[in-house]
Symmetry: C2
Subunit: 141 residues, 2 copies
DNA sequence: GGGGAAATAAAGCAATGGCTACGCCTAGCA
DNA sequence: TGCTAGGCGTAGCCATTGCTTTATTTCCCC
């Protein structure tokens, strides 16, 4: 099982490869705001756990396992951001909250949240009603 | 700021006092599945941070700060369990998920989830519609 | 006052993951 | 073609968190 930090790295790596075609140590480090040496260390761990194949000074390649996991992690992060946005969480809180909770939800929960997001997407009136509930609660104070 | 573990202890302590009138080291230890010595250590930390007043061998008392925080933590935990239940997460996943995410949500997010739960509570038909969405998604596979 | 349960103290361990310092590799320029 | 800057890797260290084990102390009740 991957630790939260491992997931953050894998997510970032997947995204970089997806967007730029490759993932360099320095880009990963910048994205996660850690030092390059920390990235090297973690890459070696991810290699040992078969999420990627790493050749020093040569770069890295995600294995099928790593690709699959990376994709899920990126999608999970996006889903959670969408969820918090829909329910009205302030922009500035969203990223940090998602970074925290994403590692602690079962895939069962993720699926249910997916359904919930779809529920609001299918009928925008529902979002309006949610906002009404909010207003009514606020008015009671 | 309290660490996740501190929050877990505080939550448990508040609950014990609420239900039994007092919180003994052994009860706390049992509830959190740790050794009594771990409890003692954490209690001292919580004392230092003014969440409670601790007299060795004499027990502890929550300060106003500790009471307020404890109450919020217990309510937060309960809210998140309700939320996951409403959206259809399996019983066996709920506790573990909540234990994990509860420490990583801003109070802004908590408030929004509260509103969401209230939204479903006000009209049970909404829950039914959510279930329908779920069934339709499942049927598509 | 003594026995035993409960609580505490002290020491230490393990996992995680970050940083610094320094050394190595290599692409690309001179 | 050789140098070198910047990127990368290694080793060693440190901080945090929170747990355990073991030994000792205290309290409570008989
Ligand atoms: Mn994260
Ligand atoms: Mn993320
Ligand atoms: Mn918890
Ligand atoms: Mn909890």
């Amino acid at each position: 099982m991957a630790t939260p930090s491992m997931e953050d790295y894998l997510e970032r790596i997947y995204k970089l490869i997806d967007e730029k075609g490759y993932a360099r140590v320095s880009d990963i480090a910048e994205g996660l705001e850690v030092h390059p040496s920390s990235v090297t260390k973690m890459i070696q761990k991810l290699d040992k756990d078969n999420y990627l194949i790493y050749e020093k000074y040569r770069g890295l390649m995600l294995t099928p396992k790593g690709k699959k996991m990376g994709k899920r992690l990126v999608e999970r992060h996006q889903l959670l951001e969408n969820f918090l946005t829909i329910i009205g969480v302030q922009e500035d809180n969203i990223y940090k909250d998602v970074e925290g909770i994403e590692h602690h939800l079962s895939w069962d929960s993720i699926t249910c949240i997916e359904t919930l997001v779809e529920y609001f997407r299918r009928d925008p009136g529902r979002t309006d009603e949610l906002l009404n509930v909010r207003k009514e609660i606020e008015a009671d104070n």
